[in-house]
């Protein structure tokens, strides 16, 4: 097992390397200049421009630029073209908020999605199933930004409840607990909206998987043993049904970072999605490369976690 993990990590490093090269080239081929000022701005002298180019190695050939960026990335010295602040610092300061948002969202979607999926599967074919499935599709089809705006309109305009950002502006909290709860509240709405699509799709996957599992012989054995239906569903059927979900778990986190761009923009939430969006707008190569790197690392880590979880759930699988 340890050899499996080690081999996986080694493979991941190689893949990360390749991915970083690809993302570097994609990013540098973007037309549009990276200068933080307009290309044709007459107020900037040629000398300033030359200095900028020198500082960010734009005068060197591409492969050297890549080497510089990679070196700076790992020494923590990579600087944004926009404001010359270290990129990793910017990413790190947004990391907690991003993780909080996305992990909460994943938690919500997995738990409610599972419940809904089991409910639909045990009532397969009956109206409860149709209602649950219809509800699931309803949720998947809801455009995130639409619901976000409608929620914002209703809560902010209708009830005067603050929901933007990570804490309510202008209110002094009597103690840390209150401040913490306030942050939690600000987190909950975007996390729930993000989770809505996830609940729906997880429930569909689980429902399909569980309907298949419930047809298996060992479920009949469990019933013949006199097990209560709850035990049959949640103990015998569940562990055999979550396999497809487990393979998908690894991809949930990186997917959400990209997919939460819109939500973060609307709720003014300081996450990495928004950072990436702004970086694309500003052609900030270093930030983009660093961000891609972080996300790719998360994907590979997520895949590893998925594989380990899969083996944990199914004893027939042997990791080689």
């Amino acid at each position: 097992m340890t050899s499996f993990i080690l081999r996986r990590l080694a493979l991941s490093v190689v893949l990360l390397f390749i991915i970083s090269i690809i993302s570097f080239f994609i990013v540098t081929m973007t037309p549009g200049s990276p200068y933080p000022w307009g290309e044709l701005n007459p107020k900037i002298s040629a000398e300033v421009k030359a200095n900028f180019r020198k500082k960010f190695h734009l005068d060197r050939p591409l492969h050297e630029q890549y080497a510089f960026i990679m070196h700076d990335l790992f020494t923590g010295d990579l600087r944004s073209m926009k404001d010359d602040r270290p990129v990793m610092a910017r990413i790190m300061e947004r990391l907690p908020a991003t993780l909080a948002l996305n992990l909460t969202s994943i938690l919500i979607s997995l738990s409610f999605g599972t419940l809904l999926g089991v409910y639909a599967a045990r009532n397969a074919g009956r109206w409860q199933d149709m209602a649950a499935s219809f509800g699931a599709f309803l949720f998947i089809a809801l455009p995130g930004f639409w619901i976000s705006y409608l929620t914002a309109i209703v809560l902010v305009k209708g009830f005067g409840v603050p929901i933007l950002g990570t804490h309510s502006y202008g209110i002094a909290f009597p103690n840390d607990l209150a401040a913490g709860l306030d942050t939690l509240w600000h987190l909950l709405i975007p996390a729930t909206i993000l989770a809505v699509g996830g609940i729906a799709s997880q429930s569909r996957y689980l429902r399909a998987s569980m309907i298949g599992t419930l047809r298996e012989d060992y479920i009949r054995t469990a019933r013949a043993k006199g097990m209560p239906e709850e035990t049959v569903l949640y103990k015998h059927a569940m562990r055999n049904s979550i396999r497809p979900l487990v393979t998908g778990i690894g991809m949930l986190l990186p997917a959400m970072i990209g997919g939460s761009v819109v939500i973060e923009t609307i709720f003014a939430y300081p996450g990495m999605g928004r950072l990436g969006y702004e970086a694309v707008l500003e052609r900030d190569y270093p930030t983009l490369v660093a961000l891609n790197f972080v996300v790719a690392a998360l994907v590979l880590l997520g895949n590893l976690v998925s594989d380990l979880l899969y083996a944990a759930v199914d004893p027939r699988v042997r990791l080689e």
Binding site: S23, T30, F137, A141, W146, V280
Partner: protein
């Protein structure tokens, strides 16, 4: 040579046994029969047809005269930001343009993106999946590793970057979305091909000396079409939602061409006061996506169930 249709039956223990038989009701007809029987599916398809007619009709009619039947571009600043009224059924936007007109014109964009993006992703996914699934071995490994590598990039970012790179025109958006979403189809096709390759009739065809492409196209593909088609239909709302998201962020089809997404985008600063600018375009996106999802799911039920 008649195509051998892949029919399935169950033995007394409920296990699937498959045998190639010539059936009187072709699978296609069977699927269509079950699909038609589903009430929700009928409603969903009905809505899709209505949307298609509205979009197509508007596009066609306004091709000849840009101002008829309704003008999405006439601005009238005195009439800006009006709530729905008898004159402007869905209100006006910040430049006084009639929202209903803009939405009718935007319909064709959304539907076009949905359909063509899926078509692109289907084309790529089919080829990649078929080759990987049929030939297996090293080809399969290489192709699937590439798929995995592609999945390492957060899709939305990739689309965003690519569109920023190439410029937000309709064609670019469609191609980019298609290019990014073919992985699901490829995986599905590969899976189907791997299974179908081992069936008796394919083995028989190989023994008879048929060449690979023939086998793929004439024997395997017809039996795999159902799940592929279902994936395609279910992919349309994803494309529509992605396009809406792109428009919202400013990377979609640019104004003054109206799309459902950019009506909302343009009104970002006014949303708290002009709820109709959010409600109606979003509702349209929602209904279109929902209809495709329901139709796709009904199709999947129809092709998978055992009656």
């Amino acid at each position: 040579m008649r195509r051998l249709i892949h029919a399935s039956a169950s033995n007394s223990h409920g296990n699937m046994i498959t045998s190639p038989t010539l059936v009187s009701e072709t699978p296609t007809r069977r699927i269509l029969r079950r699909f038609r029987a589903d009430r929700i599916a009928r409603v969903a398809v009905g809505i899709i047809i209505i949307l298609a007619l509205l979009a197509g009709g508007t596009a066609l009619l306004s091709h000849f005269d840009h101002h008829w039947p309704c003008d999405p571009n006439v601005t009238n600043l005195e009439q800006k930001l009006l709530p729905p009224s008898s004159q402007h059924w869905l209100g006006t936007d910040n430049l006084g343009r009639d929202v209903l007109s803009r939405m009718l014109h935007g319909a064709s964009i959304s539907l076009t993106v949905g359909l063509i993006a899926v078509f692109v992703s289907l084309a790529i996914g089919l080829v990649v999946g078929a080759v990987a699934g049929y030939f297996g071995g090293l080809t399969d490994q290489i192709l699937m590793r590439s798929v995995d590598a592609l999945l390492c990039f957060p899709t939305f970012f990739l689309i965003l970057t690519a569109v920023a790179l190439l410029g937000p025109s309709l064609i670019n958006i469609v191609v980019v979305i298609g290019f990014v979403s073919w992985t699901g189809t490829a995986r599905l096709v590969r899976g189907e091909f791997l299974t179908l390759r081992e069936t008796e009739y394919v083995k028989g065809a190989r023994v008879l000396g048929e060449n690979s492409w023939n086998i793929i196209i004439r024997h395997i593909l017809p039996n795999a079409t159902a799940p592929i088609f279902v994936t395609a239909v279910l992919g349309i709302p994803d494309a529509i939602l992605t396009e809406a998201g792109l428009s919202f962020l400013g990377f979609g089809v640019q104004p003054p061409q109206a799309t459902w997404g950019n009506i909302i985008a343009d009104s970002k600063t006014y949303i708290l006061d002009a709820w109709w600018l959010i409600l109606f375009p979003g509702l349209a996106i929602f209904i279109a996506s929902l209809s495709f999802y329901l139709a796709g799911d009904a199709l999947r039920e129809a092709s998978e169930s055992r009656s």
